[in-house]
């Protein structure tokens, strides 16, 4: 988008307050959604909860195709549609809510750097595991990704997506990595996050920021999703301050809400059995 168009959209966003009927769209939670999309969606939900903005989660089989950027989740607010955490944070900021206003310039730079680290390593590792590891692809990804559609459409769609993801992995140099190397990268990333978090409740001061939401989204999903092996979640469990961090955010922002609360935990454990 050009600068003029961006300024125009920002002004439109700022004109109206946050409505009551905001909706967040993702794929079907029980049958279809995959690890990486679930992580992204949870990160956005956590962020909106932290900003105290009400949003209801709507599950649609074609959420990916409805999204303006092709990625889930996206939010439908008023008459605007915004997808992915980065643009959503900016959109929410234009409406006057921000979690990172209290940070100074150096801290903001650090926050952005850590968010890139999570996207670069954790998200790419999740995508690798889902689409490039043959065992996981056969047993989990292919059955889940096309499950709402009839044969042969389900196979065609999942092969198409797999081809796209593998092309991207090849371009960034991850195609040549083995699963063990990818798990080592995840371990390195978790170690960095654990060292940065230390004994604090959140990454910056005592208030959560979008970095906390993003890290929570990914780590919680990794911890609660059952895959063909437990190696990925073991890497995260190794760092006790990260698991405590996830538990703290879940208790504070998700269990207070009636709709979410135990149904979230239940849905996730139901997902465990459905995934195998």
């Amino acid at each position: 988008m050009s600068l003029v168009a961006e300024a125009f959209v920002t002004q439109l966003a700022a004109a109206e307050p946050w409505p009551e009927n905001a909706a967040l769209y993702q794929q079907l939670k029980e049958e279809q959604i995959l690890l990486s999309d679930n992580a992204s969606s949870l990160a956005v939900q956590a962020f909106l909860q932290m900003c105290n903005l009400p949003v209801r989660v709507v599950c649609r089989a074609n959420a990916e195709y409805m999204s303006p950027s092709g990625k889930v989740p996206f939010i439908h607010v008023g008459n605007q549609v915004v997808s992915e955490l980065g643009p959503i944070v900016q959109f929410v900021k234009a409406k006057g809510h921000s979690l990172s206003d209290g940070l100074d310039e150096v801290q903001k730079a650090e926050m952005k750097a850590y968010m890139e680290l999570v996207n670069n390593m954790l998200l790419t590792a999740e995508l690798y595991l889902q689409w490039c590891d043959d065992v996981t692809v056969e047993e989990i990804t292919h059955p889940r990704y096309g499950s709402p559609y009839p044969w042969p459409l389900n196979r065609i769609l999942s092969y198409q997506k797999q081809w796209e993801v593998r092309r991207k992995m090849k371009a960034i140099g991850w195609a040549g990595k083995t699963l063990q190397q990818v798990l080592e990268d995840v371990d390195q990333c978790c170690q960095a996050l654990s060292q940065r978090l230390g004994t604090q409740p959140y990454f910056f001061n005592k208030q959560p920021t979008e970095l906390d939401a993003l890290v929570f989204g990914h780590l919680f999903t990794i911890l609660t999703t059952q895959l063909t092996t437990d190696e990925l979640s073991e890497k995260v469990k190794h760092y006790s301050n990260l698991t405590a961090f996830c538990r703290r955010i879940e208790q504070q922002y998700f269990e207070g809400n009636d709709k979410e609360s135990s149904s979230t935990a239940a849905a996730r454990s139901a997902k465990k059995s459905l995934l195998r």
Binding site: M1, S69, V106, A109, E110, A113, E116, N119, K168, I172
Partner: protein, 246 residues
């Protein structure tokens, strides 16, 4: 002082596509390993490459790991948090700065035809010199489009505008983080300084016809001073050998 083994580090003609080879070479020198940079292109087709006795290692991250295992480590004085910050900033550089670096060198038609291609072709043997630069250019464009080119950016011009905007924001963030100190973590350089130098030096020093990223960098005096300091301290023997094309 440290190891006396000769290590040959071939760094290609400029900084290699991913900007890390300058960093790897710098780190090697900083730690006292005798690093030769003959500046000839590597017949394996992949730069940078470290050749130590019989071991051949490519890619900056693996080279740095190898050096670390040989007990050359620039980060032992850093705290755990600073080590974590290093990883985070390297990820930021790769996400935000690398696409525009690749674009400036390999995709922008004027820069590629007048500077990059002749420069690379001049030190690659015929007939590879007819094929390799084109291949690297196509790979760079491919990488940019695959990682940054999805909707809502539909044309190459929109993608270019976005990656240059991200690169300028990244340079601003680095400048704020560096502030007035000499290196990123105090008075001694570390792995992060090596990586940042590897990315910034080509932007700063190479004379391209289309230079808006260089102009933006020149408006950040602390980053320019950072590059100049490292060039004079660690590259003084080779500062005059073809860092800038004619």
């Amino acid at each position: 002082m440290r190891g006396q083994q000769r290590r040959a580090c071939r760094s290609g003609v400029d900084g290699g596509q991913d900007g890390g080879s300058h960093g790897a070479e710098l780190l090697g020198r900083r730690l006292g390993a005798a690093v030769r940079a003959p500046g000839v292109s590597n017949r394996h087709g992949d730069v940078p490459v470290l050749i130590s006795e019989d071991i051949v290692i490519s890619q900056p991250a693996k080279i740095l790991n190898f050096l670390r295992k040989q007990k050359y480590n620039a980060d032992y004085e850093l705290s755990a948090k600073q080590g974590a910050d290093t990883l985070a900033y390297i990820a930021l550089l790769e996400e935000k700065l690398l696409p525009s670096l690749l674009h400036t060198f390999w995709v922008d038609a004027e820069n590629y035809c007048s500077v990059t291609k002749p420069w690379f072709a001049s030190s690659i043997t015929f007939p590879l010199s007819l094929y390799l630069p084109g291949k690297m250019s196509r790979e760079a464009l491919n990488r940019i489009l695959l990682t940054r080119g999805g909707p809502p950016l539909y044309t190459l011009t929109e993608v270019e505008a976005q990656i240059y905007r991200d690169a300028k924001e990244c340079l601003n963030l680095l400048s704020k983080r560096l502030g007035t100190s000499q290196f990123f973590f105090g008075d001694t350089p570390t792995t992060l300084d090596a990586f940042v130098f590897g990315f910034l030096a080509p932007i700063y020093k190479v004379c391209f016809p289309r230079v808006h990223l260089q102009e933006h960098l020149k408006q950040l005096p602390n980053l320019c001073r950072f590059c100049d300091d490292i060039l004079t301290c660690y590259f003084r023997l080779t500062a005059s050998d073809g860092r800038q094309p004619s």
